[in-house]
């Protein structure tokens, strides 16, 4: 076995171009790895082997015919909330049992156009509500570095499958940290693009004003290549921005210098209760960047401390409306009732899990007559303040360095009884979703218990190129990303 499943997109593209391997070989290695390990990892919900192999054969034929598409023949795992025509799309919820997507999400169309293979659908927190993938109604996913630990969430399956070499790369979505946090927990690279960079059409919405689709990969370069495929204006998504997409992949040079770059360090992001090992790894990473020529400046994000409160008002308010469509009338689970209201109540009671219900109720409450001004409206005002903080900070620096999470991946069940504790995990990632700018997460060390630690690189609006450049320079001159879990 050539272990093609362990390679990066960049490596495989070279092998495919030189004829050293075929796409069918890659898919076979990935399927073998899934067979060997997914029983323990539990990343995949559905996998159509024949379909994946058929796509691989078609890709190989295209290559013979001269095609050099950027993602040609590379298998990508898909978070279970993206619509792929003809496939289920359960969002890890019972309520979408039996639903088969009638259309492709825009990112799926873009992946197809770029030659990628839609591999299989991976687990997540139900409707992306959660930080550990434990709220999935359809299966348990483990952290490949230690099966007793959570993979993070909500894109836990997306990070676990890449970390375990059960996929070359995957798609996740990030509403409050759902790409960056599991990437950090599993030792992968993940990017939350600027809001409006990637079309949300076909992404089952959790919180429409916060959701963004992004890549989870084994290297910064791979994230750049995959991100380039995903970006671009889409007339089907009114929040998508009509602007040129830089050649993220090509523009990354192997020169590891950060000379001339100013990197900001926000004091508010080294929060109370932060794991000292996390803090040390991140501070070491900051020193490393300095050694690569970057100038480190202190910046302040004074309103970031309100981000969690604001986030849980805005996200749940939007979710309460977004999830109203799951009512048993047109698709998915239905439990009949004596009238429509009864049918809704029975279907939604049986179909939604605890965490989803909790958030729908919270969102419904904050929008209720008499409470709207005190919660939703006020939260929108503070959201503006959080955004203004970033605007000010980016006047002083090119990118911001920070931890991704206060702790490394914790043990399963550790926080499931205390939702508030789990919500606080998002404290360092939610500010970026509220402000709309972009951020990247990449490995920067390990805790003494062997769990990976992530470094967050936050960029200004549409400055993906900058954060990829910083991340790539760091990665080029460190070895963290090369470590692999022993399965």
């Amino acid at each position: 076995m050539a272990d093609l499943n362990k390679c990066t997109i960049a490596e495989l593209s070279e092998k495919l171009a030189s004829g050293e391997c075929t796409s069918v070989d890659i898919v076979n290695d990935v399927l073998a790895s899934i067979d060997a390990n997914d029983g323990k990892v539990g990343a995949y919900l559905t996998l159509d082997r024949e379909d994946a192999l058929a796509q691989a054969e078609a890709a190989d034929e295209k290559r013979v015919a001269g095609s050099t598409l950027p993602m040609l023949g590379i298998p990508v795992a898909i978070k279970d909330l993206l619509n792929v025509k003809g496939q289920p799309c359960t969002c890890s919820s019972k309520i979408l049992e039996g639903y088969i997507a009638p259309y492709d999400a825009t990112v799926i169309s873009k992946l197809r156009e770029a030659g990628a293979i839609m591999l299989g659908r991976v687990n997540m927190d139900e409707f992306a509500m959660g930080s550990s993938t434990e709220s999935s109604a359809l299966g348990k996913t483990s952290n490949p570095w230690n099966f007793d630990h959570v993979p993070g969430g909500s894109s836990g399956g997306s990070a676990a499958c890449v970390s375990a070499d059960e996929a070359i790369a995957s798609l996740g979505s990030d509403t409050g940290g759902s790409i960056r946090q599991p990437a950090a927990f599993c030792g992968c690279v993940g990017v939350k693009p600027t809001y409006g960079r990637v079309s949300r059409y076909g992404l089952t919405a959790f919180a429409s004003s916060l959701d963004q689709i992004g890549p989870i990969t084994k290297s910064v370069k791979d994230s750049a290549i995959l991100l380039e495929t995903l970006c671009g204006y889409d007339p089907m998504d009114s929040s998508s921005i009509d602007m040129d997409v830089p050649a993220f992949g090509k523009n990354l040079t192997d020169d590891a210098s950060l000379a001339g770059m100013k990197l900001g360090l926000p004091k508010e992001f080294f929060v109370e209760g932060m794991d000292p090992e996390v803090e040390k790894s991140v501070r070491d990473a900051v020193e490393h960047c300095k050694s690569l020529g970057a100038e480190i400046v202190d910046v302040s994000l004074p309103n970031a401390k309100y981000a969690i409160a604001v986030y849980y008002i805005i996200a749940t308010a939007e979710a309460s409306a977004n999830l109203a469509r799951f009512d048993g009338i047109r698709y998915g689970m239905r439990i009949d009732g004596k009238d429509p209201a009864d049918l809704y109540a029975k279907t939604r009671s049986a179909g939604f899990g605890q965490e989803v219900k909790r958030r729908i109720i919270l969102g419904t409450y904050v929008l209720s007559s008499g409470y709207y001004d005190a919660y939703y409206k006020k939260a929108q005002k503070v959201r503006t303040l959080v955004r203004n903080d970033f605007t000010e900070a980016f006047k002083q620096c090119d990118a911001i360095l920070a931890p991704v999470t206060p702790t490394p991946a914790y043990k399963k069940g550790e926080k499931t009884d205390d939702p508030l504790k789990m919500y606080l995990d998002d404290i360092l990632t939610t500010p970026t979703n509220l402000a709309g700018n972009c951020a990247l997460s990449l490995p920067c060390g390990f805790a003494s218990n062997g769990m990976p630690i992530g470094l967050q690189i936050i960029g200004d609006d549409f400055q993906e190129e900058t954060i990829l450049k910083v991340g790539h320079a760091y990665e080029q001159s460190t070895e963290w990303h090369k470590a692999r879990p022993s399965l």
């Binding site: 909330l81 993206l82 619509n83 799309c89 969002c91 979408l96 639903y99 997507a101 009638p102 259309y103 999400a105 949300r200 059409y201 076909g202 992404l203 089952t204 919405a205 919180a207 429409s208 004003s209 007339p235 089907m236 998504d237 009114s238 929040s239 308010a317 939007e318 309460s320 409306a321 109203a324 469509r325 799951f326 009512d327 009338i329 047109r330 698709y331 429509p340 209201a341 809704y344 419904t364 929008l367 209720s368 007559s369 709207y372 939703y376």
Partner: protein
């Protein structure tokens, strides 16, 4: 005690767009159920709305026609409620920043000019159509998501007659403006009516009762009258009117309780994150203003001032846009506006109403009417002959000239024939002749009638008159 009623209307008008408000599905009335649907209008996971630009143009034009101010910055909101007619279980609408603000229309109610003011017009999406059958409900999403605007009046009307005049004017303006066909049978125009009653002299309005979702003007009038009477009798018997939503049962001619205030929906409006705010520039508004079609009031003025028609004719012709458009089409083929007007107001409207047809179904086309009038003006036939030809074509079709020839309607201007009939009339009627000679000019009309009779209507009346005068005065 004397009471007065206060009435406000919320009128929903379906705009004439090719596609739905937030997706590219077509709208086609009467199509096979659930054939014009897509992930967006079915509320499928992940589907997103995209604003229909044409609908924005139409609502802004409607606003300009109704004297509204166009909001340079308006936004979208979600109105949350669970019901199978709304696929997402929220409706995209405009809560606090609608596209059109204010506005007014002036109409004649029972001979008196009244101005009714508007609060706003906002854009929203239509609901699906629910049908209840034995043991089940069926939902047709073809109508779901079609462009629907809501024209909200102030509580400025006081009678069913006011409401009727208001709705009639709105409908006329929407049709003339190309905004909507307002076909009530197809649900393209529906109104919710707010009615309250208070003792004359009381400042505060009485408790508001909303009667939901009516499309027939006659039902709306009946419902308002019933509701005013009901509320007055509640007050007179010492009771209090409950603020509530009521329905109207046209079979019984009564309103009935649907939902009381305690059970009112909390719609939990909040800004729609999937759509960007709508910005309309001054230049765009001026462009739309310059494209506005002529309204009935303007047409009336033009008919009087440029075509020389009497006010009365102009009013009748413009009452319906179909008729007015037909008139204008005919005027492309003739100069004789009064003759066209006479035919439309006389023969045309009478025959249409007798046979229950609309003007577009008439076999007499504008071109054919113009040719009939041409024959009259050339004195080839007289007016009576023209009317006969008109009616023949209306009932059977055909060509004006061929009918004229087949029926022998060409009028006689030949002097020798006229002279014979004139001499005969003078000889047989000595009395009118005498009266005429004695100084009563009207008596000549009797003789004229005799000549026309003798000619079986084919004599040229002008020529007959001239000949009679020549002979009698001579």
């Amino acid at each position: 005690m004397k009471y007065e009623a206060t009435i406000g209307l919320e009128t929903h008008v379906m705009q004439k767009t090719n596609t739905k408000m937030f997706c590219s599905c077509k709208y086609e009335y009467g199509a096979e159920p659930n054939t014009h649907v897509c992930p967006t209008c079915l509320g499928y996971p992940g589907a997103l709305p995209v604003m229909n630009e044409k609908a924005i143009e139409l609502i802004c034009k409607a606003g300009l026609l109704l004297g509204c101010e166009i909001n340079p910055y308006s936004k979208w909101d979600r109105k949350n409620y669970f019901y199978p007619d709304m696929s997402k279980n929220y409706q995209i609408t405009q809560a606090d920043e609608p596209l059109c603000l204010g506005g007014q229309i002036t109409v004649e109610v029972e001979g008196e000019l009244k101005t009714f003011t508007l609060e706003r017009i906002h854009q929203e999406e239509n609901a699906a159509k629910n049908t209840h059958v034995a043991g089940a409900s069926l939902v047709d999403y073809n109508r779901a998501g079609t462009a629907l605007m809501e024209i909200v009046s102030n509580p400025c009307m006081s009678s069913a007659a006011d409401a009727l005049a208001y709705m009639t004017a709105i409908k006329q303006i929407m049709q003339y403006g190309g905004i909507s066909n307002c076909d009530q049978e197809k649900g393209q125009m529906r109104s919710d009516v707010n009615v309250s009653v208070r003792p004359v002299g009381q400042k505060e309005l009485g408790a508001k009762v909303e009667i939901k979702n009516m499309n027939s003007f006659a039902f709306i009038q009946d419902a308002i009258e019933y509701e005013i009477d009901r509320q007055i009798s509640v007050l007179e018997s010492g009771g209090t009117v409950v603020q509530e939503t009521r329905g109207y049962n046209p079979d019984r001619g009564e309103t009935f309780t649907q939902r009381t205030k305690e059970n009112a929906h909390d719609y939990r409006y909040f800004p729609e994150p999937d759509l960007m705010p709508v910005k309309v520039s001054k230049e765009q508004i001026e462009q739309w203003r310059s494209e506005l079609p002529e309204m009935p009031a303007q047409r009336r003025v033009r008919y009087v001032e440029e075509l020389g028609l009497p006010e009365y004719d102009a009013g009748v012709l413009t009452a319906s846009m179909d008729v007015s458009d037909w008139f204008e089409e005919t005027m492309k083929h003739t100069q004789n506006a009064k003759a066209v007007s006479n035919f439309i107001m006389g023969e045309m409207l009478r025959l249409l109403s007798e046979q229950g047809l609309t003007i577009s179904e008439s076999r007499v086309t504008p071109e054919k009417l113009a040719r009939i009038i041409e024959l009259i003006d050339a004195k080839t036939i007289n007016t009576g002959g023209g009317k006969q030809i008109f009616e023949t074509i209306f009932n059977e079709g055909g060509d004006p000239k061929e009918i004229m020839e087949a029926k022998g309607l060409a009028q006689v201007s030949d002097d020798s024939a006229l002279e014979g009939w004139a001499d005969e009339a003078i000889a047989n009627n000595p009395k009118p002749v005498e009266e005429y000679k004695a100084g009563n000019p009207a008596s000549i009309n009797f003789l004229m009638g005799q000549v026309m009779k003798a000619s079986r209507g084919k004599a040229n009346p002008g020529a007959v008159m001239q000949m009679l005068k020549q002979k009698l005065d001579g």
